[in-house]
């Protein structure tokens, strides 16, 4: 279980499998699950009964904590964040938590400073500014 012990999201140690996998922001999950829920409603008379508790809880959760509601905005957020050489995981943490200051962003995603990608404070500041602009127009 050594892999388990070394796991630490702050240093981006989340295992190779998940590091390469596609990460989803809460707002993206909301779109996927909503779509699936609608499909279920059409094909079954009792969709509530068809859903697992895990599905139900996840849907409630992502709806409550989605920063962006509009699918176009969600796409824009991903596009903007992907300009900054972030790992998938980092991108999604930032998209989910929407930090407002550089200090807060680094506290949320400590790994953005430690990987030598030349992401200095100015770059992070600009990224947060771009994000806040989208939020305004959502």
């Amino acid at each position: 279980m050594s892999a388990e012990e070394e796991e630490n999201a702050a240093e981006l140690k989340i295992g190779d499998e998940f590091l390469k996998a596609k990460c989803l922001m809460n707002c993206e999950v909301a779109i996927i699950l909503d779509h699936k829920y609608e499909q279920l409603q059409q094909t079954s008379e009792d969709p509530m009964n068809q859903m697992s508790q895990v599905f139900e809880k996840s849907l409630q959760y992502v709806k409550r904590f989605s920063r962006y509601k509009n699918p176009d905005t969600v796409r824009q957020v991903r596009e903007i964040l992907s300009r900054y050489q972030l790992a998938e995981f980092e991108l999604c943490v930032l998209g989910n938590l929407c930090p407002e200051t550089v200090e807060e962003a680094i506290a949320m995603v400590p790994s953005i400073r430690s990987r030598g990608r030349g992401l200095d404070d100015d770059a992070i500041e600009k990224m947060l500014h771009d994000l806040s602009l989208i939020k305004k127009f959502d």
């Binding site: 796991e7 998940f18 989803l24 809460n26 699936k36 895990v54 996840s58 409550r64 949320m108």
Partner: protein, 175 residues
């Protein structure tokens, strides 16, 4: 964090389903079998979003059942140590509080709640700062950091902290 990943599973199908509906039968059985389950490695399987590939079936000796290797895409929720996320408080007591982030339960012990927050009992037990400006109670939304996970066969349980910079209450239900 939620992920979109590809998983593989060997599905056993009874011979009575062999026919033109074989694939739909296989897919609906797959959904019934795996959606809502949890494993330590991949976390909670929230929803299957597509089936990539159904391999060649293999007849089981003696039973007539056929095993198909099925590759499918799904949305999973997997919490990580060190991850920061938002959660909803579900229960508060003098030991600390429980919060939920999607399917996962997180416990925050009172040692990991800032020292200036005191436990207040009553019909709405809560943790409150001495000046009363910040309050954690049922239905409060908090931002916390996961510092430990415990995995058993069907559940993942997490320990969290709000005793760090930029963690704590985001909104409380009374305001």
């Amino acid at each position: 964090m939620f992920f979109h990943i590809v998983l593989e599973r060997n599905m056993q199908l009874h011979p009575r389903h062999f026919g033109r509906d074989l694939r739909p039968k296989l897919v609906s059985k797959l959904m019934k079998d795996v959606e809502g389950t949890c494993s330590g490695r991949h976390g909670f399987i929230v929803a299957i979003t597509g089936v990539e590939n159904v391999g060649n079936g293999l007849i089981r000796d003696g039973t007539g059942f056929v095993t198909f290797p099925v590759k499918y895409q799904c949305v999973v929720f997997r919490p990580f140590k060190g991850e920061i996320l938002e959660a909803v408080v579900t229960m508060v007591n003098k030991m600390g509080f429980f919060a939920e982030a999607g399917p996962v339960q997180i416990f925050v012990s009172n040692h990991l709640i800032p020292d200036d927050m005191e436990f207040q009992s009553g019909d709405m037990p809560n943790y409150t700062t001495s000046d009363g400006s910040v309050k954690i109670q049922k239905e409060s939304e908090v931002r916390l950091k996961i510092i430990g996970t415990r995995v058993d066969a069907t559940e993942i349980f997490c320990i969290g902290t709000i005793k760090d910079d930029f963690l704590g209450v985001i909104s409380d239900p009374t305001s």
